[in-house]
């Protein structure tokens, strides 16, 4: 770890206690959404479109309904007519109720293979599966467009007759009134780009393509619903945000939020993919019709084909530099596939693309484009990996052409406090320079690479991070512990982090805080576990909750001692101190002592509050990777990997390291092996874990992490968002390492064996 002088000393923060939910998770008792079992439960399955683009002519469920055990079949018509209400989809994504319902159940037309057209529920999951075959659907297939550039051309089949380009760029032309697949265009600009390129000694321009990538969480989507006779709907599900599920259900089912209780079960991974609802509204409608609890779960191929992966992209980057390495200008063109409905993360891609640098002149154009593919969802730093893959690869080529060390070139142009962001705000205290310096200082970077066809690459990555709303209540138990109740879904160890931050504030041990995650009926409003917000936002809640408890305990101690309140203090060591007594002995009580006396001195103490904090602290990561390329097979092997990251303050360093290592692994998958193979009919050819190749234990080495701690001034404990940054640098770092190894630059991710071999053959020609 690299701590800056700004970092204070803590007692609990920075230690590595066992996570509170750990035992349940290693003995098989933790209850995930898939483990929900209720008396009389029915099982639902979805009938999906075999076509990527088609008109639905007729649906006939009579044979399915005649099968013994089948209880109901529903279609789009069983939902209330949706309006055009805007709906949040997490991480800044916005859609309308109409589009969201189409993705849950198509009405007249299907826009991607796997889109639901009907659903069935039955007494047993085998029967539900049999019934799917008996639902007859007649289609009229339409031409398919599944590539972003083709979709932007005038000749492309149009997905939505009513769609017009929403132009958010002040400088561009008046939008046309023709139907289009370009849902929106945005632009960020600074300075004078032409002058910037004129001042450059070299200009490098490259084109990039990236595949759709799936989040690949191991737990498939699931949801169970029970619609009681009093109109109250209870939903148990696997989600990153119980309150957003509640809000989405209220809009789609047109019932008040107070009628819905969403209980977030343990979640088996999300990475942004579990911010939207797919199954819950269907299970709810089934339960309303049958009066029974209804459970739904996706199969793995359904997860691949019909949930939201990240956008496939086409990107062009042009950058100019002076001989001394100063970057003078940049032009970035981003075209992102939104999938079947508008809403790709191109905006985030645009704000992140150049974020590691302070460049005087640039233009960034972003296009959100609909294609006949599943609607994309958030995926860890949504939009950033593709944009920064392109920019960082060009920066590495510039360094190579100018014969400047790639980290020195970055240090020369690094963004700092005060550097303007594309959105107009200026960066506060950020750690880009500290990260770059720590990369240079690392033994990995100083080591020699030995052996043929081996190379090294570096790259930076950035993510803005967000904050959000969090609620919590804390009750002091007489045994000196705290019952902490939150609505914040714990995906990767936030129970531990929140317990530690409350413990730090109260001067007690992490083990004295017992966190519980509860449903929407049992806690105040709580935002998503997403956008790297959790440790930041819940940390604020813990801090303010801790201060509230300190105040109440101080008052109580004053009453017990019969001294004025202003003479009592709560120490950071968890000891309450008052003025000396008549015999001159200091008055002191530990947290545990006073907890045991509360009942007899005025009653138990508890506190509850909601915080709404922004400014999660933008963060940078820098990765160093060594690879070996097999010239015969095109396979790239990762030999060594080091990930440096400004994490603000590492609350529980093990889980911070884990976030970084996990992000690296996903980034390596994007860089080398993961890919959606599309047939000409718009069908994904590899919808299984066998063929969609996520990294296994054998594909990765140990991943060395360096935690740089530049505390976030916007947080009482200096926390920055950690989870998303590490997925950004792997693609360009590996691209540079391959170039270093075999002298070939690749512009397509994944850089699969085929891409590597084709490039090698091209070079020989």
């Amino acid at each position: 770890m690299v701590a800056t002088p700004e970092k204070p000393q803590y007692k609990v923060i920075g230690t590595r206690p066992i996570r509170p939910d750990g035992t349940d998770k290693v003995i098989g008792r933790a209850e995930y959404g898939i483990d929900v079992r209720l008396p009389g439960m029915l099982y639902g399955r979805i009938k999906r479109s075999p076509y990527a683009h088609a008109i639905i002519k007729r649906i006939d469920a009579s044979k399915a309904l005649a099968l013994p055990g089948v209880k109901a079949v529903i279609t789009h018509d069983d939902f209330p007519p949706p309006g055009d209400t805007a709906m949040t989809m997490g991480e800044g994504g916005v859609s309308t109720a109409r589009f969201m319902l189409e993705g849950i159940m198509a009405s007249k037309k299907v826009l991607y293979r796997g889109q639901p057209v009907a659903a069935v529920c039955a007494t047993d999951h085998h029967i539900a599966e049999d019934a799917l075959e008996l639902i007859e659907v007649e289609y009229e297939p339409l031409p398919v467009v599944s590539d972003v550039r083709e979709a932007m051309s005038d000749a492309a089949p149009v997905l939505h007759e009513n769609l017009r380009t929403r132009d958010m760029a002040p400088l561009s032309q008046t939008p046309s009134d023709k139907p289009t697949n370009i849902a929106s265009h945005l632009r960020f600009a600074r300075g004078d780009v032409q002058a910037g390129f004129a001042a450059a000694d070299i200009v490098v321009e490259r084109e990039f393509e990236t595949s759709m990538f799936h989040q690949g969480y191991i737990e498939p989507h699931n949801g169970t619903a029970f619609w009681n006779r009093d109109g109250k709907l209870t939903v148990w599900c696997s989600t990153q945000g119980s309150f957003s599920v509640r809000a989405n259900l209220a809009t789609l089912l047109q019932i008040p939020v107070s009628q819905i209780n969403v209980i977030p079960m343990e979640i088996g991974g999300g990475f942004g993919g579990k911010l939207v609802v797919y199954l819950e509204p269907i299970a709810a409608v089934f339960s309303k019709i049958t009066g029974k609890p209804v459970k739904m779960m996706m199969t793995r191929d359904e997860v691949f084909e019909a949930t939201g992966p990240t956008s496939g992209t086409y990107i062009r980057v042009k950058m100019g530099a002076k001989k001394d390495g100063t970057l003078t200008a940049a032009e970035v063109y981003l075209a992102y596939e939104a999938g079947a409905f508008p809403g790709s993360p191109v905006g985030a891609g645009a704000t992140c693309a150049l974020a590691p640098y302070d460049i005087e002149n640039y233009v960034i154009d972003g296009y959100d484009v609909v294609v006949n593919k599943p609607k994309t969802a958030a995926y860890r730093a949504p939009g950033a990996p593709a944009a920064e893959f392109a920019v960082e690869s060009v920066v590495n080529e510039i360094a190579k052409q100018l014969d400047i060390d790639p980290i020195d070139l970055r240090l020369k142009n690094a963004a700092k406090e005060g550097t303007p962001r594309p959105t107009g705000q200026k960066f506060g205290r950020i750690g880009a320079v500290e990260v770059m310096q720590a990369m240079k200082d690392h033994p990995h970077y100083k080591s020699e690479i030995q052996g043929p066809d081996r190379g090294r690459g570096v790259a930076m990555g950035f993510w803005g991070n967000v904050g959000g709303e969090r609620s919590a209540t804390a009750a002091i138990n007489p045994d000196g512990t705290i019952k902490l109740v939150v609505g914040n879904v714990d995906i990767g160890g936030t129970r531990a982090a929140m317990a530690m931050m409350l413990a730090e504030t109260l001067g007690i041990s992490a083990e004295q805080v017992h966190p519980h995650v509860v449903g929407t009926d049992d806690i105040g409003a709580t935002g998503l576990t997403g956008g790297s917000s959790s440790a930041f936002a819940i940390g604020w809640t813990m801090y303010e909750l801790g201060l509230e408890l300190r105040k109440k305990l101080t008052e109580r101690a004053a009453r017990i001692w019969e001294v004025p309140e202003d003479q009592v203090t709560y120490g950071d060591d968890g000891v309450i101190r008052g003025p000396a007594d008549a015999e001159g002995k200091p008055r002191e009580m530990s947290f545990k002592e006073i907890a045991g006396r509360l009942a007899r001195t005025g009653g138990a103490i508890s506190a509850g509050l909601t915080t709404q904090k922004q400014g999660a602290g933008p963060a940078y990561g820098g990765h160093i990777v060594d690879v070996e390329v097999d010239r015969e097979t095109g396979k790239v092997t990762i030999l060594r990997y080091t990930a440096v990251q400004d994490v603000g303050t590492a609350i529980h360093p093990s889980y911070v390291e884990g976030q970084i290592q996990g992000g690296v692994a996903q980034g390596v998958g994007m860089a080398l092996t993961e890919e959606y193979y599309w047939g000409p009919d718009g069908r994904m050819q590899n919808a299984s874990f066998l063929d969609y190749r996520m990294p296994t234990t054998l594909d990765l080495p140990m991943i060395d992490t360096v935690l740089v701690e530049v505390p976030n001034p916007g947080h009482p404990y200096g926390v920055r968002g950690v989870g998303e940054v590490p997925i950004v640098p792997p693609m360009p770092a590996i691209q540079a390492a391959i170039a270093d190894a075999i002298g070939v630059n690749l512009y397509k991710a994944p850089m699969s064996p085929r891409v590597v071999l084709e490039a090698l053959l091209d070079k020989e020609r």
Binding site: P220, A665, M702
Partner: protein
């Protein structure tokens, strides 16, 4: 209508009799018929290892075994690892090394790691990686899982 059969097997050292559908996989039977939900479904076609159990001393993906095949077999699931009075060194090591984040793949990794240490008490890093290559984890990047298995192996040897 679906056909049901009665199966007898020793599950976590307990002779167990249960009724299963002829089409049930062992995974279906464990989760839906017996209520042992610690074993997880990630893919239902043998590619992720989340449903790993030990059957007659062999590591198998329970989604690829039919329930009807387990008549007379001995099966160990994640629920059968810990003793009444505490966790095994492997489970302790997973907690100490922070070898889990979301925890959904953890039962499969624990069962697979136990099966490894049963046949090879002192595996090298490469042997651990080779053995666990059938188990997917999307959260951790595997680093801490490998370290936890190494730690448990060292403790068992001590």
């Amino acid at each position: 209508m679906t056909e049901r059969i009665i199966i007898t097997a020793t599950i976590n050292d307990e002779e167990t009799q249960f009724m299963a559908d002829m089409r049930d996989s062992l995974l279906d039977a464990l989760r839906e018929r017996i209520g042992l939900t610690g074993t997880k479904e990630g893919c239902n076609n043998g590619n992720c290892g989340a449903c790993a159990v030990i059957m007659d001393g062999r590591l198998v993906n329970s989604c690829c075994v039919m329930a009807a095949e387990v008549e007379g077999s001995e099966i160990t699931t994640v629920e059968g690892l810990a003793e009444a009075d505490g966790l095994t060194p492997l489970q302790e090591a997973f907690l100490e090394e922070a070898a889990l984040q979301c925890g959904i793949c953890t039962p499969g990794f624990l069962v697979a790691s136990k099966a490894l240490l049963d046949v090879n008490p002192h595996p090298s890093e490469h042997e651990i990686r080779f053995w666990l290559a059938g188990n997917l984890c999307r959260c951790t990047g595997y680093d801490k899982i490998i370290r936890a298995v190494q730690k448990a192996a060292a403790q068992r040897g001590a």
